[in-house]
Every structure is written in C-alpha cells, then in structure tokens.
C-alpha cells in the first residue's frame, strides 16, 4: 500500500514539474540588456519597467516587437505612444479592454466604421452625464429595454 502511495506521489510530482517547467526555465526572462538593438528600439517606452515585468508579459512584448517592423509607419507611431500606458494599466483594465475589443471587432464592418462617430458623440456629452454612465453597472439587455421606451 505504501509503495502505491509513493508511486502515486512521484507521478503527480513529475506531472507538476512537467507543467511548471516551460514557465520556470527557458528563454522566459531576457533582461533589457539581453535584448537585440531592434527589440530595444521597438520596446523603448518599456525600458524602465522591463526588468520588473513578469516573464509571460515579456514574451508577449517580444512578440509585439517582432511584429513592429512589419507595421505601417502610423501604426508604429500609435504603438510607441500607447505602449507605456497600456503596460501601466492594471491587469483587470487590460482584460476589460480586450473583451470590449473582441465584442466590437465582432460587429459588421459598417458598424465598426461608425464607432469613431459614436465615440465623438459620447465625448460631446456633458461630463456629469458621462460620469453617470460610467457609474452604471452594465444591466442585462432585456431589463434595459423595459426601462427605455
């Protein structure tokens, strides 16, 4: 019986090590100084935060640095401007933005095109109105429909 238990424990430990392995080892942690000149140039806004960043996030940014040379000049400019702000958001905020992006990217292209217009309309709303909207928890669609005629 004891041998069975020892065997089970060993197998589970091996499984855990195998699962944790790819994260613990490998090229998951390049320090800023280890990056290539191209990577450093693409990720320049992150220079100060880089060495405190989690390995998975570094890998993600390295992936974005790889895409950087293929981007259009205006896209490169946007990435440079947004990178630091994006990196300094909380994980919850980033996840919220990703979810919203996925929802908006799913709508038909003509609706997507009107989004810029809607954003301008929303910006034109008085500040208290926008604050009120921000404070409202998103209600289920059916309940909302009943309230608004």
């Amino acid at each position: 019986m004891r041998r069975v238990l020892v065997l089970l424990a060993l197998c589970l430990a091996a499984g855990a090590v195998a699962a944790a392995g790819p994260r613990a080892k490998g090229p998951a942690k390049p320090a800023w100084a280890q990056l290539t000149a191209q990577q450093q140039q693409a990720l320049a806004p992150l220079k100060n935060d880089w060495d405190n960043m989690e390995p998975q996030r570094r890998q993600k940014w390295l992936g974005i640095a790889k895409r950087y040379p293929k981007m259009k000049p205006e896209e490169q400019e946007r990435v440079e401007k947004r990178m630091q702000r994006w990196a300094n958001l909380s994980p919850e905020q980033r996840n919220l933005a990703r979810e919203n992006y996925k929802n908006i990217a799913r709508v038909p292209p003509e609706k997507r095109a009107s989004l810029r217009e809607q954003w301008a309309q929303y910006q034109a709303l008085p500040a208290p109105e926008r604050a009120r909207l921000e404070a409202t928890a998103p209600a289920p669609k059916r309940a909302r429909k009943k309230k608004t005629p």
């Binding site: 790819p22 946007r78 809607q118 954003w119």
Partner: protein
C-alpha cells in the same frame, strides 16, 4: 501446482468449498470419524489463516494479488498515471500557449487600432453604446 501459486490455490479452495456446500445441501450423514476429520481440517485452516487486513488495506492487497503481485504494480499502475500526468501537462502547456498567442494578437491590434485606447477602456462609453443600441 506449486504451493506458492496463491491465486490458483485460492480458486481451488473456492471450488472445493462449493463442492462441500453442494454435498451438504444434498443432505450429509457423517459419522464421528468424519466429523473429527472435518473439525481438524477447520482448526488447521484457522491456524494458518492470517489476520485479515481491514478496509482499504484488504482491498489493495486483493488488487495487488489480482495484478500478479508487486512486480506488476509498477507497470500496471505507473504507466497509466504517468501517461495521464504527461497528457494533463501537455494540455495545460498548449492552453497557456494558445492564451498567450491570443493575448499577443489582441494587444497588437489594440495598440495599432485607428481608434484611441479609451474607446475600449471607458466603461461609460461601453454602457452608452449598449444603451443607444437598446433604444434603436
């Protein structure tokens, strides 16, 4: 049959017991000599009987016995458990990679999008969009 061949012996004892039960059901007349022999046999069997391990231990013991002893345990038990462990870690690693690739893709799109980040960050705007969509 060798004496230490435990599973076969156990089976024969069962068959033997069944035969005795069968004979007893038919109605058995035993004289004093046969009764004495039966009693002796029973006492001998009880003497040889090891104290039965309780609960899970007994179950594990029978299981190990049915697998062909401890020698086979490592193969029959460890192989599926190791395979399961490898499969679970492979699925986990694959999921992590998929998730990382998806996050990288969306982040690249968000960072290069022609609309400002606030379009996707502003809760008020998201609520307003839902509200106006519901009003239409």
């Amino acid at each position: 049959m060798s004496r230490d061949d435990v599973p076969n012996k156990a089976m024969n004892e069962h068959q033997f017991g069944d035969r005795i039960a069968h004979l007893l059901n038919q109605g058995l007349r035993l004289d004093a000599h046969e009764l004495a022999r039966l009693r002796d046999a029973r006492e001998q069997a009880l003497e040889r009987l090891q104290p039965e391990p309780a609960g899970a231990l007994a179950w594990a013991g029978r299981l190990v016995g049915s697998w062909g002893g401890w020698g086979m345990v490592s193969l029959r038990l460890a192989a599926p458990v190791v395979a399961l462990g490898i499969a679970v870690s492979a699925v986990y690693t694959w999921q992590q990679k998929q998730r990382a690739a998806e996050v990288e893709e969306i982040d690249a799109l968000l960072l290069t999008d022609d609309l400002p980040l606030d379009v996707y960050l502003d809760r008020g705007f998201q609520n307003w969009l839902k509200k106006t969509a519901a009003e239409q």
